[in-house]
Assembly symmetry: C2
Homo-oligomer: 200 residues x 2
């Protein structure tokens, strides 16, 4: 039985991850921007530090959160591109940088990237850059976390999100959130580190 | 004969690129933080826009510039991680976002990542994340630049830099800057887009 924090646990992926981890017998705490057991703003050091002070030491930190900017390259500004850098990228990196100090020996961190890392879609340059950066970060960070692991899950578009996002993903095969959740479970209860678990 | 801007043209890679492109008969303008034909701060929209207003329309934009943060993961802050995001990543992305509007039909943009994208070294998590992000950005941006191309060159450690950086790259085979410069030439005068030219 592990004590696990899921940041973004109220989102579509997050809910499925929480359900999966609880069914496996783990104790799961949920943090979110506007709901869950704890409120957190992943763009703030103070907020993230306060979160971990409240949870205390953990066996696993899972992040299923973060926004990126969508828009055509021809009209994109650096400030718009920075939105995804500050939120989904640096926000999740911040969870790892601060969270590492609250992680028990043998513990793990699992972040979220996405299929756009490999398969660009229209208006998705920020998403592709942010997702690839997260995969690079995890690959490197795994070499500097002795006794602890870090991975990233890269899901394709979720079946549950097709109504809203489906038109952005023409011809992409969707996966149910419950299937994506399996990859988070593999990361939390498996043995690998520095991995990208692609689901799609 | 092309009109080409090399940002970072006074650096070790940049000088070799300028030499190669001039030998090929191109007209090369050099921009840099503190030297060259034009001064530019790639962290500033205003400075980058002023640069392109001075150069006028171009056939190619080459960037061989950008800093990242090196330090142990266990002591790294989000603000330190953001250094590379704002400089080497967003700085080069800014050159592309603004520069696209000054690029002639058939023109190209060539950015610089580095071998740490694939091969992490100690204290290099920021470099790995930044370099992978640049490769993702180029892969996606290539799909939204009709009539124009964008690539990235990923050199390994330079032979000329071994005195300073060699101890960070144990067992890495270095390449002379002149060999790395060939990849930039391939990007500028070739036909591919969305490519990562790895030199090492």
């Amino acid at each position: 039985m592990k004590k696990i924090l899921v940041v973004g646990g109220a989102g579509t992926v997050g809910r499925a991850v929480v359900e999966n981890l609880r069914a496996a017998g783990h104790t799961v705490l949920i943090a979110g921007r506007s709901s869950g057991d704890y409120r957190v703003d992943i763009k703030s050091d103070e907020s993230v530090r306060a979160l971990f002070e409240q949870t205390g030491r953990l066996d696993a930190i899972v992040s299923t959160t973060g926004s990126v900017f969508f828009g055509p390259l021809s009209q994109m500004s650096a400030a718009q591109f920075d939105i995804g850098l500050q939120d989904k990228l640096l926000g999740q990196v911040r969870l790892a940088l601060i969270g590492q100090h609250y992680l028990n020996e043998g513990g793990s961190i699992t972040l979220t990237s996405g299929i756009l890392a490999e398969e660009p879609i229209a208006q998705g340059v920020n998403a592709t850059a942010v997702n690839t950066a997260l995969e690079g970060f995890v690959r490197a960070a795994a070499t500097e976390l002795p006794g602890r692991r870090i991975n990233v899950v890269s899901p394709t578009v979720l079946t549950e999100s097709l109504d809203v996002f489906g038109s952005y993903f023409p011809g992409f095969e969707s996966v149910p959130a419950a299937r994506a959740a399996l990859a988070y479970r593999r990361s939390v209860d498996g043995v690998q580190t520095g991995q990208v678990y692609r689901v799609g």
